[in-house]
């Protein structure tokens, strides 16, 4: 039986820019950042409150990625068609204001939902996330 999610992939356009966004804007921490001879860079980050989860910030045009696939991914990101998941916070409105002040782009402001308060935030590659304050 599957019990946990330990790694998941977020495609990004530029790993340096993505690292800066996730660390300096969202407040995540770098879990691993190592480069290899062939140009492959293993870059993972995660929220500080969740040490057992790694988001792999994978460059769309890495060394083993076919150019047409990379172009498709780039197009999907640019058109805002890739969603990264749900980020949780204890106070959506406050986090929204904090991130807005840092220049983070939102697709929609906090709104009351039956499950809590939710905003839609976008990273600097085009991935969107729900930012949710769950009820209770």
């Amino acid at each position: 039986m599957i019990q946990r999610l330990s790694h998941t992939t977020i495609y990004v356009l530029d790993q340096d820019a993505a690292r800066d966004f996730y660390v300096n804007k969202l407040g995540f921490e770098v879990r691993m950042d190592a480069s290899m001879d062939n140009g492959f860079r293993w870059l993972t980050v995660g929220p500080k409150g969740q040490p057992d989860l790694q988001l792999i910030l994978m460059k769309v045009d890495g060394p083993n990625m076919q150019p047409d696939v990379a172009a498709t991914l780039r197009d999907l990101l640019t058109r805002g068609k890739l969603g990264g998941g749900v980020l949780q916070t204890s106070d959506c409105r406050k986090t929204y204001e904090e991130l807005k002040a840092k220049g983070v782009e939102f697709l929609s402001p906090p709104k009351e939902q039956f499950y809590g308060v939710e905003a839609l935030v976008k990273d600097n590659s085009g991935n969107w996330f729900s930012l949710t304050e769950p009820k209770n």
């Binding site: 946990r4 691993m32 190592a34 001879d37 062939n38 500080k48 409150g49 969740q50 040490p51 890495g62």
Partner: protein, 153 residues
């Protein structure tokens, strides 16, 4: 060869904290993360979060799924693993480099968390990844990702 069962973190994590408390805890955790080589008392770490030591220990564990001491130990062992993988430093030097004062306690802690002694960990890793140099990150990359993304190294 992983350092800590992931379910341990989740089992201890119980709730989201208000942003002020969480920011304080993160400040203390960052402090511990940067100063992991030093001997930091619980009182000193708690003062970074403006909390009493007992309360700090309890809420830190609730927020991050590990005690402050376990966190520092994990950071030290992770750093030791990278040093063992990446270069040919003596195990004793690595032990002191990551903040341990005795080789015995370092080896015991490393073995209990990783399941191999430091020397055997290095031997096994070199056997798997072909020695030192830039191949060591392969240790951290699950095989499926290696197959799909890394390509020939």
């Amino acid at each position: 060869m992983r350092s800590r069962p992931a379910q341990d973190f989740a089992a201890r994590r119980s709730r989201l904290f208000d942003s002020v408390t969480f920011a304080r805890l993160c400040r203390a955790r960052d402090y511990l993360g940067v100063r992991y080589r030093d001997r930091i008392t619980l009182e000193h770490a708690a003062s970074q979060a403006c909390l009493s030591p007992f309360h700090f220990n309890r809420v830190f564990t609730q927020a991050f799924g590990e005690t402050p001491h376990e966190f520092v130990t994990r950071v030290r062992i992770e750093e030791a693993k990278k040093l063992l993988l990446a270069d040919n430093h003596r195990v004793t030097d690595i032990c002191f480099e990551v903040g341990y004062e005795s080789l015995g306690s370092f080896s015991t802690r490393f073995s209990s968390l990783i399941g191999l002694s430091p020397a055997r960990f290095r031997r096994e890793s070199r056997r798997l990844f072909g020695g030192f140099g830039t191949r060591w990150p392969l240790y951290y990359i699950p095989a499926c990702y290696q197959q799909f993304f890394v390509g020939p190294v």
